[in-house]
Subunit: 218 residues, 3 copies
């Protein structure tokens, strides 16, 4: 099955993906709260490309602080999302407007980080999706360096690998392991349809007691 | 005195209620910062209906996870607010769009929780007021269950009982114990009037020193 | 050099100031994330006027809780920013609409606090810039008191003195020590120009690898 990211962005949402993953026994696929889009009402969907950071406290020629970061971002393909795992380090802003400009040119689907982002005004003018822990005006130089790319990582308590599907919206961010993407998408689209039925019943005055007895969803 | 919630929503605000409660010796009636409306500029006012949650880590037929939740929400009356006490557990989102749809039908005044909320986009389309600690796409199933309803609770460090008056706005959320609602409302409406006088003086260039000496409020 | 705050607000931004300070060896000039404007897209720039708070738990005639606060705010000059150091105490809201009304009359450039702010709706109607840790409806009375003014302070992990230059925007807040303001401003304006060149190259499809090799900035 070819992945149709444009369709998922309009038909799916993080809550229905989280419920679907729960129903399949995957209970640890939703990022801990607090990783938010820097612009309201953005839906981001694509495939992960993982980079891992470590904190550093100096800079010099040998450090070559942007080395792996430049490598990862220059290699982004259409619909890929740069996943910058900072172990919750809010003291660095590994993403900003120049990286957004390049990633946007390459048709990347966005950036996801548990660190911070800067240049938010300009990033929003570009319209590039960024989900981050917060904003911070500081560079990574003197503070952190990406050390490894395309290796397993963890972000906001969720395990992530390059190739996993990511969907982020106003509610939060869900990661679907690459091995079960097709199964999850199919089941999630079915659940959307059941929820539509329940919603209509409730609007017409049915009680939660009655609709839950019949449809078993809430 | 019949409570006129529509009037309180336009004439009162959380700060003047907090000051009034302070002046009567009630210093612990304001929720700790961080419980926010999921939509800007919403004012929520109504009477509490309390439900208490506990964390759980499984689901099966015996668990009947939505049992008490369905009971509480189906029983909401006009101007009542579902107060979902989660002990600050941000790992669950006990509120979402289907519960909003039902509560809105029953003319409930909103939901207040120190847990999270999901389906925020759809909840905002309904226009149902929700004040929560954050957003999270996950269901309570496998994660938490409401165990008791209409018993005393605590939310963001404030004691709350069903029947207490709740007012939330951009600044935060204040809880007025049911026994003193009339006294607090009367005094708060008077304070609003004094603040209007002071504001006019300051706009015309009076110093804080002078207006405070005269009016004793700031 | 006369400081031209209106120019800095349009040409500079917190990230370029943070980078410039980094390049001069000043790595601790950016406030820890979480101190935000209460209104989106506000740029605040001016000179610090520092006040230090301590937590208190009572109120009476002797306490004279607003004593130093009234003194500091009534003495604000054009382009000065009230810097209210609360040691991260979110239990108090030392700033609100009446202080905003007075400070606005005196042409103060804003308020910066690691405590909370209240009356946010009215403060935003006045259009007065406030960067704070959060919102909270409670007064300082019974909770905190400004004890010293125009002494050195610390806010969100940055040392600050009256006379330091402050710039806050969507990304965060940077403090420029008074002794190096001219040098930093000059160098930051130059950096803005280099970033414009790099941005244009990236928009035209140059790789990060190539532009970083040539311009050494990212």
């Amino acid at each position: 099955m070819t992945l149709n990211f444009a369709e998922y962005k309009t038909k799916l949402y993080s809550a229905v993906l989280a419920d679907t993953l729960d129903s399949l026994g995957y209970h640890k696929q939703t990022l801990s709260p607090g990783i938010k889009s820097i612009k309201p009402d953005v839906v981001m969907c694509g495939l992960a490309r993982v980079g891992l950071y470590m904190p550093i406290y100096h800079d010099d020629e040998n450090t070559d602080v942007y080395e792996h970061e430049i490598g990862l971002i220059d290699s982004l393909k259409e619909n890929e999302i740069a996943v910058l795992c900072c172990h919750g380090n809010e003291k660095i802003a590994p993403w900003g407007e120049l990286l957004s400009t390049r990633a946007n040119y390459l048709k990347s689907a966005g950036c996801l980080t548990d660190g911070c982002v800067r240049d938010t005004k300009m990033v929003n003018e570009i319209g590039f999706p960024v989900f981050a822990k917060g904003t911070n005006p500081v560079d990574t130089k003197f503070r952190g360096k990406m050390m490894m790319t395309d290796v397993p990582g963890e972000i906001a308590n969720v395990y992530v690998e390059s190739g996993d599907l990511i969907l982020g919206d106003n509610d939060g961010v869900v990661i679907v392991p690459s091995t079960i993407i097709n199964k999850v998408i199919k089941k999630a689209l079915e659940k959307v349809s059941s929820e539509n039925t329940v919603r209509e019943k409730l609007k017409r005055g049915y009680s939660l007691t009655d609709v839950f007895k019949k449809y078993k969803i809430l």
